[in-house]
């Protein structure tokens, strides 16, 4: 300890003169003004970090090098050493401040790790499959166990792709969006603009909360049962569609919209509530009717939040597996018709390729396709998130100049 902790700011400044950083380094420094006396030069942190990395690598090498111990040692050494340096060279308050800042960064890094590692592992395993010729453009029709066996044993290219699953996911999610956005939007408009805290609005809020918690497989079973019931009643009354089965793309879309509606209601409700009341009143005061005010003032003001909320809801349901598996089934060929025949979605495709490889004894090609499909799914979800940000900024009310 070369310096006692300074209890008050005045005491710190009364000391005058920059705290020396040891004989070697202080020569290299430009004379520092009295205002900068309590700071340490920024190269010091880089130097400390470099030292910690070297030391951490050395220590973890002693235990047989691995990334986890390397990370732990580096972080611990860096945090400790920067605390001690600040404590001895500046003062205790700054040291504690720095300690907590470093801990917060560390927590952030730790939180980031699963994400990075998922992306890394999926990308590293998935890219070869993604680059296989025709992976995005072909479906699984004609890909038999023999074809995969040839790929694995004779080095023939891995054939087959995800075109049918992509189309299925796209159509099912689009249909689910088309169903749930109007329902969700109108519900939240009712809740925010028309309901005056009555029984109905409280009941709706309660049931929307309950819906948020519905397990996705239950939504799938519900949609399947509802569609089966509807078809039996419909064919009983009209005598049409007597042979229609309930396993359809549209059934999966209904299942997904059960999951989407509460998310859309919740986000839209939030967005509508933050639209200032002043704008509604300004519109009323111009002699504009309520529904026009909602349509032309409230919704445009909230549109960026609503659109990005909807996009996030899509991103949330596009990865659902179970409800689509039980409602739309699984096929190897491309099906463009939501109302006829089975359909494959991307997550179901991944599941099936892992669980039931096309060739049970030679599963490598199936796994390669599954990983590549997983990579595509992650990319779609990331793309949707970026897209949500994009519309949030594009549609945001213009705020320039103020």
């Amino acid at each position: 300890m070369t310096q006692t902790p300074t209890p008050t700011p005045t005491a710190a400044s009364a000391q005058g003169g920059p705290p020396s950083l040891g004989d070697g380094s202080s020569n290299g420094l430009v004379r520092r003004s009295s205002l900068t006396q309590n700071t340490l030069p920024s190269w010091l942190w880089i130097a400390l970090l470099g030292g910690s990395i070297v030391l951490g690598a050395a220590l973890s090498a002693l235990l047989g090098f691995n990334l986890a111990s390397f990370f732990i040692f580096t972080a611990a050494i860096y945090i400790l050493s920067s605390y001690i340096v600040t404590r001895t060279r500046v003062n205790r308050r700054r040291a504690t401040d720095g300690l907590w800042t470093n801990l917060v960064y560390l927590a952030f890094l730790i939180a980031l790790m699963p994400l990075v590692s998922v992306i890394w592992s999926v990308a590293s395993v998935g890219i070869p499959g993604l680059l296989a010729p025709g992976f995005m453009a072909s479906d699984m029709q004609g890909i038999t166990g023999l074809v995969d066996q040839a790929s694995q044993t004779e080095g023939a290219p891995v054939l087959g792709g995800i075109a049918h699953a992509l189309i299925g996911s796209l159509l099912i999610t689009l249909a689910a969006t088309a169903i749930s956005v109007p329902i969700g939007l109108l519900t939240s408009i009712y809740l925010v603009e028309y309901a005056r805290g009555g029984l109905l609005s409280r009941a709706i809020t309660f049931f929307v909360d309950v819906m948020t918690g519905i397990p996705s497989i239950v939504a799938g079973l519900f949609a399947g049962a509802a569609m089966a019931w509807f078809l039996s009643v419909f064919s009983g009354v009209t005598g049409l569609l007597t042979t229609q089965r309930s396993t359809l793309g549209i059934t999966a879309a209904i299942a997904l919209s059960v999951l989407m509606v509460p998310v859309v209601v919740r986000t839209t409700e939030e967005m509508l509530r933050v639209v200032p009341n002043e704008l509604r009143e300004a519109s009323y005061a111009l002699g504009v009717r309520k529904w026009r005010t909602i349509l032309k003032v409230v919704l445009p003001t909230a549109i960026s939040g609503i659109a990005s909320g909807v996009t996030l809801a899509i991103a949330r349901v596009i990865g659902e597996t179970a409800p689509i598996l039980v409602t739309a089934g699984f096929v190897v060929n491309t099906n463009w018709n939501l109302f006829q025949g089975w359909m494959t979605a991307l997550p179901v495709y991944i599941f099936r390729q892992f669980q039931n490889p096309t060739s049970p004894n030679f599963s490598d090609p199936s796994e390669q396709r599954a990983w590549a499909a997983a990579l595509v799914l992650i990319l779609i979800v990331m793309g949707l998130n970026l897209f949500a940000r994009l519309i949030a900024t594009l549609f945001a009310p213009k705020q320039t100049g103020r």
């Binding site: 111009l286 002699g287 026009r292 445009p300 003001t301 009310p397 705020q399 320039t400 100049g401």
Partner: protein, 259 residues
């Protein structure tokens, strides 16, 4: 183009709370009338009942008669939207529509109602409204920029332009200058003086000099205590209110000896 306003035994409620009681007042057409009074005495509440904006709040209601050129706006058959097209309102805080350009803000009263305007018509409405709001010269080169990009005073004048664009008979202003600097305030006071030639203007203000400068008549409101309803204490020519008030509380208030 401009109508007189008469309140007859008007009571204004928030739910069960009687905020303003027993107002009887005759407001002249083509004149500026100022409402003054201490905070919480119900000036805003009464003003908002003049164009049926009061009932927008849940539980808010009004009893009594409010005559616009002799026609009761609280008659059961009256559509509040019709009333609001005839009685425009400028709010305390400037509130241009953030999603609209300056031009669209001025035309908001037409556009939001789905009216179709020819290009020349809308050009003309935009120019005359902005000219009467003393804003034309400042914004004529940037009509297609967002309205929220203007200064606070310009935004307030934009809101006034938006209000006069729909040609109401009466214009209500609730402390229109309270968020503005002295120069913008002066601009708006000048504007009020001009508006008076065509409109019935009713303005709430906390600024006694402002009331004295812009208005011909002044109404003083007061409240007996918290939780009590606000009442109209005295209503007279502005010069009389400020120089020879009849009531003791008016005299205390206008001479700053209030409270």
């Amino acid at each position: 183009m401009s109508k007189r306003v008469d309140a007859v035994d008007l009571n204004v409620y928030y739910g069960d709370f009687l905020a303003v009681e027993g107002i009887n007042i005759s407001i002249d057409a083509r004149a500026v009338t100022a409402f003054i009074g201490p905070s919480g005495c119900g000036k805003t509440t009464f003003l908002r009942s003049l164009n049926r904006m009061h009932e927008v709040l849940p539980g808010a209601r009004v009893k009594g008669q409010l005559l616009l050129d002799g026609e009761d706006i609280y008659d059961p058959g009256v559509d509040p939207v019709t009333v609001r097209t005839q009685v425009g309102m400028v709010f305390q805080r400037p509130n241009p529509f953030p999603t609209m350009t300056i031009r669209e803000n001025v035309l908001a009263g037409y556009k939001l109602n789905g009216a179709r305007l020819s290009k020349s018509q809308s050009e003309e409405i935009v120019e005359t409204s902005l000219r009467s709001a003393n804003l034309w010269n400042e914004v004529k080169d940037r009509l297609d920029r967002p309205g929220s990009g203007l200064s606070g005073g310009q935004q307030q004048r934009l809101c006034i332009a938006r209000t006069i664009a729909v040609k109401p008979d009466v214009i209500l202003m609730d402390e229109p200058c309270s968020a503005l600097d002295p120069i913008s305030t002066l601009a708006i006071e000048d504007l009020i003086g001009e508006l008076q030639q065509d409109y019935t203007v009713i303005i709430v203000t906390h600024n006694m000099q402002q009331a004295a400068r812009v208005s011909q008549k002044t109404a003083f409101f007061n409240i007996a205590g918290t939780g009590k309803p606000g009442k109209l204490i005295e209503y007279n020519d502005t010069t009389a209110i400020f120089n020879t008030p009849q009531e003791k509380s008016t005299e205390d208030y206008v001479s700053g000896r209030f409270g």
